[in-house]
Amino acid sequence: MSADLQLGASFRDPSGFVFRKNGVLLRQVNRPYLESLKRLTDSGLYGELTEAGLLIPHTEVGIENAFSDEAVAVLKPERISTISYPYEWCFSQLKDAALTTLRIQSIAMKHGMSLKDASAYNIQFHHGGPVFIDTLSFEPYDESSPWKPYRQFCQHFLAPLVLMSFVDIRLSRLAASYIDGIPLDLASSLSSSHTRFKPGIGMHLHLHARMQAKNADAGTKKETRGGFGKNALLGLIDSLQSTIEGLKWKPEGTEWADYYSDTNYSDAAMIAKHKLVAEYLGAVSPAPNIVWDLGANNGEFSAVSTSMGFQTVAWDIDPAAVEKNYLQRRADKLMLPLVQDLTNPSPSIGWALRERDSLIERGPANAMLVLALIHHLAIGNNVPLLEIASFLARAGEWLVIEFVPKDDSQVQRLLASREDVFPDYTQEQFEASFQGRFTVIKKDSVPGTVRTLYLMKRRAS
């Protein structure tokens, strides 16, 4: 029992929770959920959803693995390589997650079941696409009742998508401040006024927000039973689906979205860098299970990693670059593009800071690509080289890192509008700063450039 650890993300649901036993993730099912679990399987819903890749498959393991006495079953879900959160997803990832949730609700109704919650955190990206991970979120469908997770769905999916689509793509970050979704009154007041006249958004966001405020203390649940039918719920789901499908955002105009058409690399230099990166990744031993590409832009070099068979998370600060990566490489099942500001990485959030893990808590990565990034951290954001080395040593074990010197045109561009207060930004200082944390295994000039690529291994602490 001492090796067991209940995870902070799933304590709210009396149906069960997830925990780790000897490093393996398990899901305990409590007595109140037993009937629903049987129905999930016997109705054929579990089979249809898992075959379609919409629900994470599980195997049942012995009850002796239970975390506590309330358990009636213990499930071992298929492992998700990297947990990500809605505030790290690009527009199309959040949209796909929303449509997946609605599709699951429609299929569940065919089998006499319904979702009892519709949290965006119930979706993860697995093998390149969205998958529902909370096996305990299904309950028998009560035809007389409205859709219980309607408010939650609108807060977790519709509100951020409307804000991203009509106001500013960066408002996806609001989801990190509101763990149960963006309050509808807030989203309604932030949205541009013409969205009120769009039928779906008008009803599901604006009117919904007003109804919530007006009936806040009405206590309506008991009174509303018997007033809703199956056709009405199908209509609601259909209306939400067409509203979400109608939301668009085009990735353009940001600083990084067109980065690779605006670099100082010649074609030959780019090819040489591809080769070097592949050679360095191939030298990582043992072969990495997970690679983090930090500052991945549109995933140009993350794709080198996935082509070698490595699960790769392509982190980038720019939602447009991440969107492009996601849309262009959907077929690449090893690629996971995510939005991440490395100067202010995702923190631990939620109750007792245990509900959602920080970036570092989801590591360490076996290997990291840090290409054409160091000058943005050191010069663009004034982060000392020693600090960068220290952070990277916490984030991963192996490091493929590119040093970009001051005479590189991209660094010159950074320095063009500011005073050069970086006398320590030299290749010698870079090597000295990383020496305390990493051992240099390989070092090569990138042909056709003034840059140098390093393969480093973290020193044993």
């Binding site: 409205p146 408010r151 008008g202 405020a213 007006k214 309506t220 056709n231 609601l236 209306s239 067409s242």
Partner: protein, 79 residues
Amino acid sequence: MKKLNRALNIALACGCLLTICQSANAYIDAGSGSYLLQILFAGLLGGLYFAKTAFGNLKAAVVRRASMHKSDDSASHVR
């Protein structure tokens, strides 16, 4: 189908505007407004969904019938 969707959406918007109400400051009970909104629109949502599926089925039946006629015609030409 797109035109029908648009017409249905406009009907839904009219419903929204007719029932729009003023906000009030009160303690937040997260579910009440959401439940009431669904109840209020149950008939409209159900009706629109019924109309949409009925139109879809009708359209599919017409297309099926038309394609059957076409294949019958081409079969008679072969003979």
